[in-house]
């Protein structure tokens, strides 16, 4: 297991990858990617049992589904940095003939991706299906998923939330990136989510709240706690407060960088804040 220091170094390199990837093609979604960096690093380098040799069916492995597919830069960087494919392939992000599509897809056969996502609101249902499949296979590994908070405005989520409680899908840990931002502004202004913990609880889920979603130790501790709650008849959700754009001062805490790439000058400013720890791709 890597030390906390090593995990932090990985996170810093992942952040460099994210801003460099979106800068290179002048498109993509850095804000949410930076905000969820600790979560991804915790999952892939500490929490999940997974095999970078990649098998779609993932028998005997933990699996992860990214529902808010637009934060593909952090997903791709972490997959590459944990050995699913060469880090040099990150340079092909969003380019023609690449396996690294704007939004994650299985179509080009990129190892580590098990379903296409991007059209929002479908990932929780998919994760529920994969969790049911594990139960049928008597596979006691877990299913993890990540969702945007704005994404919860899609009604299908609430169908899946109802289903998972009714069918006791207790081998599933969903996490919501609760950054309070979406494309058009704050979730509060665009479409208020109301009392989010109460809503999940009312639907029959175990609800965990994480205040420090950009503190890797806190994220790991919360995922460990969630793990101890599995297998007890209820699905589990972690409502994870994050800072959108975390790690790059001018991107932090605003929806402005949801889907915007830095220019050359901004890239230099961002990279100056992120030490190259593992070597750039």
């Amino acid at each position: 297991m890597p030390s906390t220091e090593e995990l932090k170094n990985i996170a810093t390199q992942v952040r460099r990858d994210i801003v460099r990837m979106v800068h290179a093609v002048n498109s993509g979604h850095p804000g949410g990617s930076l905000g969820c960096t600790e979560f991804f690093v915790a999952l892939y380098f500490e929490v999940m049992k997974h095999d970078p040799a990649f098998n779609m069916d993932a028998i005997g492995e933990d699996v992860f589904f990214l529902s808010n597919g637009h934060i593909s830069p952090v997903f791709y960087s972490v997959l590459a940095r944990s050995g699913y494919f060469e880090v040099s392939e990150l340079a092909t992000f969003r380019k023609l003939n690449s396996r690294l599509q704007g939004h994650p897809a299985t179509h080009e056969g990129l190892p580590g991706v098990r379903i296409a996502s991007g059209s929002l609101g479908q990932g929780l249902s998919v994760a529920v299906g994969a969790a049911l499949s594990k139960k049928l296979n008597n596979d006691d590994r877990l299913v993890y998923s990540l969702h945007g908070d704005g994404e919860l405005q899609e009604g299908q989520n609430w169908e899946a939330i109802m289903f998972a409680a009714h069918h006791k899908v207790d081998n599933l840990i969903a996490t919501v990136d609760w950054n309070g931002q979406q494309i058009d502004g704050s979730t509060e202004n665009v479409m208020s989510l109301g009392d989010l913990p109460a809503k999940w609880k009312a639907f029959g889920w175990e609800v965990l709240e994480l205040e420090e979603g950009n503190n890797i130790e806190a994220v790991i501790a919360m995922l460990a706690k969630a793990k101890t709650m599995t297998g007890k008849g209820s699905p589990i959700v972690i409502l994870m407060k994050t800072d959108m754009g975390s790690g790059v001062d001018f991107m932090s805490g605003t929806h402005e960088w949801h889907g915007k790439a830095p220019n050359d000058e901004q890239l230099e400013v961002a990279l100056a804040q992120l030490t190259e720890t593992l070597g750039d791709y």
Binding site: D57, I115, S125, V128, Q156, M162, F163
Partner: protein
């Protein structure tokens, strides 16, 4: 219609062996398949009775998931179930199996190439009295446009049963369309049924009739009426709309030089338009369409609706007579 024995031809080989709904063929096929293949799982959105899924559920309750009235959730859950090797069969009405959940199918199933079998009952106007809200006539078009999606529309109870089992044998998404009313059973358990391989039901020289679903029996009926008028029709059961058996179409039309397509679907985007594409690309002959002409349905009995919307036996006969007149104009190939 009674014909003297000595005149017995291929069209007369198809006798009514019984009557049943194609959805019962699905239910019985799913039951049989469930016993044979432990990876088959089924989901339903609060229409177990309508989809005839009770036998499967009784046999394998642990492999059935009641989703409630939440079709979008059902489609994406089905996609997730494939990860781990399950073969999910989803069951609801055709309307809620396609239009209501198109984006879920597009992203999580078709684009992601998941082995989900979308099984859709109560397709078309023969759903009857419930009316146009439930009578989808656009589903074949929507589904055939999705890259990699197979589209299968069997013609009677027995064929639907066989099709339900057959679609489990390939890896990839499939749309299986069937219906509500009790209709003649005329195909047999030992028929030569293969996905993507059309069945030539009657041989004829004057016209090719290509039909799917409920319109196949209507085409056989039309064939008998045409026979009385001295016209021999080659009836092809095109139970697979995609991939389309182009070879069977070309073989027949090179002999007959004209074609009538017959389907319980919109004229735009259904079987007829798929056939027309083959004709324009490969071998141009006149075609007439027996299909619903840019219209929604309404309440009524299945037979009344088929007549009102121009997709009954007499419409096939009229279309044949029309296309035969057009055949005299020669089209340079």
């Amino acid at each position: 219609m009674r014909l003297p024995k000595k005149r017995k031809k291929m069209s007369d080989q198809y006798e009514v062996l019984g009557k049943s709904d194609t959805r019962s063929g699905f239910g019985d096929g799913l039951h049989e398949l469930g016993k044979m293949n432990p990876n088959v799982v089924a989901l339903c959105a609060d229409l177990i009775g309508s989809l005839k899924m009770q036998k499967f559920i009784k046999e394998s309750p642990e492999r059935f998931f009641q989703v409630g009235i939440a079709e979008a959730n059902m489609m994406s859950i089905a996609a997730g179930l494939t990860i781990g090797g399950k073969i999910p069969y989803t069951g609801t009405f055709a309307n809620f199996s396609t239009g209501r959940v198109y984006d879920q199918i597009r992203q999580s199933i078709a684009y992601s190439h998941k082995n989900v079998k979308i099984c859709a009952s109560h397709a078309g106007v023969t759903l009857g009295e419930d009316g146009a809200t439930h009578q989808i006539l656009e589903d074949i078009g929507m589904m055939k446009m999705l890259p990699g999606m197979k589209v299968v529309v069997p013609c009677d109870y027995t064929q639907t049963k066989l099709a339900t089992i057959a679609i489990s044998k390939f890896d990839g998404p499939c749309y299986l369309r069937f219906g509500r009313p009790k209709v003649p059973i005329f195909t047999k358990d030992d028929q030569d049924f293969e996905i993507g391989k059309a069945q030539v039901l009657t041989e004829g020289n004057d016209v090719t009739i290509i039909a799917c679903g409920h319109l196949v029996w209507k085409s056989i009926e039309a064939c008998r009426i045409l026979k009385e008028k001295g016209i021999t029709a080659e009836v092809i059961n095109m139970h697979t709309i995609k991939p389309l058996d182009e070879e069977a179409i070309l073989k027949s039309i090179k002999k007959t030089n004209c074609v009538v397509t017959a389907e319980e679907h919109q004229k735009y985007g259904g079987l007829g338009s798929s056939v027309a594409q083959v004709l324009t690309e490969k071998y141009l002959v006149p075609q007439e369409f027996v299909a619903v002409n840019d219209s929604f349905g309404e309440s009524g009995t299945p037979e009344e609706l088929m007549t009102k919307y121009g997709i009954n036996t007499e419409n096939i006969v009229a279309a044949v007579e029309k296309v035969l007149k057009r055949k005299t104009i020669s089209i340079p190939q």
